[in-house]
């Protein structure tokens, strides 16, 4: 089995970009049972993309949770936000209606692929 672990942070935690990963956590992340991980920029940097009748509409801010649930995640490479939004749009087009994708930048050099 594979699992995705989703870490949530309190809203006052805003200086994460400048803070290193704690040494003890870094050691655990190196274990072979950790397939991949990413440290994300705060929610304020998020853009949410919705499919409105085939038109991809970006809005500022994170996806606001109501009854929808987190259904998956993609790790992608792009030159900039436009590239990320374009790829997110392609993926969104192939998902079920009503799906939204939140695009959140990964902190520089703070990820390891699966």
């Amino acid at each position: 089995m594979q699992y995705a672990l989703l870490a949530y942070a309190p809203p006052e935690d805003t200086d994460r970009a400048t803070r290193p990963i704690p040494v003890t956590l870094a050691a655990r992340l190196d274990r072979p049972d950790v397939a991949g991980w990413a440290r994300l920029h705060a929610a304020e940097s998020a853009t949410t993309l919705r499919n409105d009748d085939g038109q991809m509409l970006p809005t500022d801010g994170p996806f606001i949770d109501s009854k929808e649930y987190l259904a998956g995640l993609f790790l992608i490479e792009a030159d900039n936000l436009d590239g990320a939004l374009a790829l997110a749009g392609e993926l969104l087009q192939e998902t079920r209606p009503g799906t939204a994708i939140e695009v959140r930048p990964i902190l520089d050099g703070r990820s390891r692929g699966a």
Binding site: S45, D60, D79, L81, D82, L85
Partner: protein, 404 residues
């Protein structure tokens, strides 16, 4: 003071070039502010340098390099900067005005990126390209200083963290992205009408001119500038003794004729490009409104085109006004009754006017009351109070003396 005008003119240009060099809007803005402060102190004493733009950019860039050195993150921050540093004496770099890249277009597309909230796009555009202070922006939109300041900082951080590109979008994205830029400019323009706190209409025209300068082949860019100029040219005639004066009652000698001519010339220029868009249609309508007698059938037809392009109920409302002129107030009211615009203040004043003309004073009175509840500026309130008094059932009707 003349220096202020120079600064205002140079701010967007200098800032844009700095963002291009430094790759960070916040850093560029701080550096630019420092350079302008140095200029404000030195220029009146030592005289203006031969190439003010180059001087400001070079000074700002050197300040930014100092700051980055202090932070010890120079190499990580930008490789381009490092290359510049190795290239030799910095003073020589920005000496020739012709070699300074004009990157205002990149900057405006960054500020009006759809991943930023619209209020943030507006505030950021006014700050970076318009050179307005945070104070002025807060005042203009009646938003607390703290809110505006936070909004600007957050937007700058998002641009940096999310990787919003400092670039003119590629051709396939350009129409949508340009539409977003034009929306921001027109929003700024419309905020400037009636308010009178900071002259946002003038700011929007300034931005529109810069954009027309940078994208002279885009008909919608020219059309938006034309539209703003045509509206703004009637500014002096729109108010009399603190009262709103309807178009037909305006003193035409107060209209700014050179500005009207400029707007019309731009409209002609935009029309020769053979591509239509919502701003071109609106500018054409604005122009038609200025002739007497007005060509209502053509105005109604253009509103119909515009309604198709935009799907906007407000456009339909304006079409109703034109239709009322052609087929009578009841025909206009029939269109209004289909619209869901209860929250819109001009909907109620428009409806009230048609009801009054249709000989239904008590319904008109009710609608004027609703318009007055929603009115946002004093001249609007005074105008509506007069109309309200005129349609009060027990009081004999008075001639509309305040507007003639």
């Amino acid at each position: 003071m003349a220096l202020d005008a120079v600064f205002r003119d140079q701010w967007g240009r200098v800032l844009a070039t700095l963002v291009g060099i430094l790759g960070d809007l916040e850093l560029a803005e701080n550096a630019a502010a420092e350079a302008f402060a140095v200029a404000a102190e030195r220029w009146p004493r030592d005289g203006e340098p031969a190439n003010p733009t180059g001087w400001l950019i070079t000074t700002a860039r050197n300040r930014a390099i100092d700051q980055l050195r202090r932070q010890q993150v120079l190499a990580a921050k930008t490789t381009l900067l490092a290359r510049d540093l190795e290239a030799g004496p910095q003073e020589a770099l920005m000496d020739d005005a012709a070699t300074i890249p004009d990157e205002r277009l990149e900057l405006i597309f960054t500020c009006c990126h759809p991943a930023l909230a619209l209020e943030a796009q507006v505030a950021l555009t006014l700050r970076t390209l318009g050179g307005l202070s945070t104070d002025e922006i807060a005042l203009a939109f009646l938003v607390p200083f703290e809110t505006t300041s936070k909004r600007l900082t957050r937007a700058k951080h998002k641009i940096r963290d999310a990787g919003i590109p400092f670039a003119v979008p590629p051709d396939h994205q350009l129409p949508d992205r340009l539409a977003a830029v034009l929306t921001v400019i027109y929003l700024i323009f419309n905020q400037g009408w009636g308010g009178g706190r900071v002259d946002l209409a003038a700011e929007a025209i300034h931005l529109g001119r810069a954009l027309a300068d940078l994208m002279p082949d885009e008909p919608e860019v020219l059309a938006l500038l034309a539209l703003m100029l045509l509206h703004d040219a009637r500014k002096a005639a729109r108010l009399r003794d603190g009262q709103v004066v309807p178009l037909d009652d305006q003193d035409r000698t107060l209209w700014d004729t050179p500005q009207l001519n400029e707007g019309r010339a731009l409209l002609q220029q935009a029309m020769t490009r053979r591509r239509t868009g919502p701003y071109l249609v609106q500018a054409a309508i604005a122009d038609l409104h200025l002739y007497q007698p007005r060509d209502w059938p053509q105005i109604a037809a253009l509103y119909e085109t515009l309604a198709r392009q935009t799907g906007s109920p407000i456009v339909e409302m304006n079409r109703a006004i034109a239709v009322a002129e052609i087929d009578g107030p009841e025909a206009g009211l029939a269109i209004l009754d289909r619209l869901d615009l209860d929250h819109y203040r001009y909907f109620h004043s428009t409806r009230a006017d048609l009801l009054r003309r249709a000989g239904r004073p008590s319904a008109a009175h009710h609608a004027y009351r609703r318009a007055l509840d929603l009115a946002q500026t004093e001249p609007e309130q005074r105008f509506l109070q007069d109309r309200l008094a005129e349609t009060t059932p027990s009081v004999p009707r008075q001639p509309g003396c305040a507007t003639t």
